[in-house]
């Protein structure tokens, strides 16, 4: 009885601990293992080395998907951060109806990416959407066919993703702006330092941790982006808007190529790992000190 009482906390944690070991770490291990085999339709377990990765990196489709990840991710992260920071600074100027404006900027974050994708697919479709509307206004030569143009379609994904997430970045930065010590700002204002200098020299540098958090969240969203591509472009035209996430899914569930699915998933995992682990490590260390 005493034993039970002493160990009760650990016992309560045990189910989650075991579940995590199996379903997170065990499963990662399984995927890593299978990515080293010749698995096709069914998994095989004889290790054959890195053939799947060789196939992956010599595949044109993966090449597009992997390049798109950095193109899409880079633009999405940079533009969302700039836009979010700008909107946060604008909103920080004693704006009337700030609450209402904030609500409007942030609501897309509550929507499913499938809903977002569906809406933008309709808006951007050349036949009846934006293009047709502007042409109807008399600008006959107006063309906006990014959605069906293989070279430009990936930018529609960027646009929709920014629409969805920039309000959230704004909220993060706004909270950061508000947490800067008011005394310092007041002192600077009394010294006659112009507002833009106060922002660029005092407030923004002190928000470095928030930049980092925003970057981590956005990078994470970018790597996971799957639903948005599926709903907006379906990976097309052709494979032009494929991302690693859609590539993995296609290999796993429609191509029946488990080896490719596993190796592409492991590459995604590697990208997340290089971004998140240093961040988590520093976060946890700071807290333990």
């Amino acid at each position: 009885m005493k034993f039970l009482e002493d160990h009760l906390p650990k016992l309560m944690l045990a189910p989650s601990f075991i579940a995590m070991l199996i379903f997170v770490y065990g499963f990662i291990g399984w995927t890593a293992w299978v990515s080293l085999t010749r698995s096709r339709l069914l998994p095989r377990y004889e290790i054959e080395g890195f053939i799947q990765y060789e196939r992956l990196f010599s595949s044109l489709r993966w090449d597009t998907a992997f390049t798109n990840l950095f193109l899409f991710g880079g633009l999405f992260i940079v533009i969302s951060m700039i836009l979010g920071l700008a909107l946060a600074i604008f909103l920080d100027q004693n704006i009337r109806a700030e609450g209402a404006i904030r609500t409007i900027y942030l609501y897309p974050m509550a929507l499913s990416m499938i809903v977002t994708g569906t809406a933008w697919k309709w808006i951007l479709n050349p036949g009846l959407g934006l293009e047709a509307m502007v042409q109807g206004w008399g600008f006959e030569g107006f063309k906006f066919d990014w959605l069906v143009n293989p070279d430009m379609a990936i930018y529609t994904v960027v646009l929709a993703a920014i629409w969805q997430s920039s309000g959230f970045v704004m909220a993060l930065f706004l909270a950061g702006l508000r947490s800067v010590d008011g005394e310092i700002i007041k002192a600077a204002q009394i010294d006659g330092i112009p507002n833009w200098r106060i922002y660029s020299a005092i407030i923004i540098p002190s928000m470095a941790p928030i930049f980092l958090s925003a970057f981590i969240v956005l990078a994470h969203l970018a790597i996971k982006s799957f639903d948005l591509v599926i709903a907006l472009t379906g990976g097309g035209p052709g494979f032009s808007t494929d991302l690693p996430a859609t590539y993995m899914f296609a290999m796993a569930f429609s191509r029946g190529d488990i080896g490719q699915a596993a190796s592409s998933a492991m590459v995604m995992m590697g990208v997340v790992f290089t971004i998140v682990v240093p961040y988590l490590y520093s976060e946890l260390r700071v807290k333990n000190d």
């Binding site: 009482e5 906390p9 309560m12 944690l13 989650s16 995590m20 379903f23 997170v24 499963f27 399984w30 995927t31 998994p43 704006i95 404006i101 409007i104 900027y105 609501y107 897309p108 974050m109 509550a110 929507l111 499913s112 499938i114 809903v115 569906t118 809406a119 933008w120 309709w122 808006i123 959407g129 934006l130 109807g136 909220a171 993060l172 909270a175 941790p209 928030i210 958090s213 969240v217 994470h220 790597i223 996971k224 799957f226 639903d227 599926i230 996430a245 993995m248 899914f249 796993a252 488990i258 699915a261 592409s264 998933a265 995992m269 998140v276 682990v277 988590l280 976060e283 946890l284 333990n288």
Partner: protein, 297 residues
């Protein structure tokens, strides 16, 4: 003389300030339009007839408001070969989300309570492992999970999806509760222990009553995540157990018959409505969950 120059300079300064202020509001207004436009287009499109969609333009208001598209979307739109609208899938999503939210929140509360208040060697490692689990791309567990669900005999079922959402929601729910409980002084637990209260008693009568805000944050976070999920839904469901996001995508991409944009938009709004409602009613807690998920500590 100097006074006049000074006041003129001041009034000029005031004018520039006024102009800047107007520009600022104009800019904020333009961005508000950018964020609202898709919602506006969705709503107006869903209220138009197909005929009007073809002849009118994207942002024009419906000349004749009709709810036909909504009726079709709810009860008779085709998701592939079945034509029952999104209604059954809407209820699937409810059946998946409600138990998954409750179970993962409860487990998260207990985990967070243990990690924050019953420190034992290894508790930090547990927490770090759990935290990392929040960040893994789910693609990396998709294949083995599909096999596991098969082995467990719950592949393609609603309990299967509940199970998946509970497992992969635990990281965040534990994180939320741990970060909340860690701010409660450990002396409280110690004193209660001295008074002879046990593990559950302390949880039940001290921690739980303090937890309302974090419960609300966690429930909203989990509900939004699970309701909006597409990856698990499309990977682990079969015809009849699909959540609404999968059904919506199927309606939009079904290739049979005429493309009914108004029905697509109505279905999209229906799929988005529950989380939008939560956001409007409890926006404060929604934002807190979002920021807690990124800015820890």
């Amino acid at each position: 003389m100097t006074d006049a120059v000074y006041s003129e300079a001041r009034s000029q300064g005031q004018i520039t300030r006024l102009v800047l202020r107007w520009l600022l509001y104009l800019l904020l207004f333009v961005f508000a339009l950018f964020y609202l436009a898709p919602l506006f287009v969705m709503v107006t499109t869903s209220l138009k007839s197909l005929e009007e969609i073809r002849t009118g333009d994207l942002i024009s208001l419906p000349r004749q408001v009709t709810f036909d598209a909504w009726r079709t979307a709810w009860a008779s739109a085709c998701t592939g070969i079945q034509c029952e609208g999104v209604r059954p899938y809407f209820w699937n999503s409810v059946l998946i989300a409600v138990p998954a939210v409750l179970i993962s929140t409860l487990l998260g509360a207990i985990n967070g309570y243990v990690v924050a208040q019953w420190r034992f060697p290894g508790a930090n490692i547990f927490f770090a492992l759990m935290l990392f689990g929040c960040f893994i791309p789910f693609q990396v567990v998709l294949l083995p999970m599909a096999r596991m669900l098969g082995l467990m005999g719950i592949a393609g079922t609603i309990p299967g999806l509940i199970f998946v959402h509970v497992i992969y929601g635990l990281g965040f729910t534990t994180l939320f509760f741990r970060n909340y409980y860690v701010t409660i002084p450990a002396e409280l637990t110690k004193a209660a222990k001295v008074d002879g209260a046990g593990f559950f008693r302390i949880f039940w009568s001290i921690f739980l009553p303090l937890s309302l805000p974090i419960i609300v944050v966690t429930v909203i976070w989990q509900f939004t995540q699970i309701w909006n999920d597409f990856l698990f839904g499309v990977s682990f469901s079969q015809a009849g157990t699909q959540p609404i996001t999968v059904a919506l995508n199927n309606i939009v991409n079904s290739t049979t018959g005429v493309k009914e944009y108004n029905v697509d938009m109505a279905a999209a709004i229906i799929a988005g409505l529950p989380t939008l409602l939560v956001y409007v009613v409890a926006g404060k807690y929604f934002i807190r969950g979002l920021t807690a998920g990124s800015v820890k500590g």
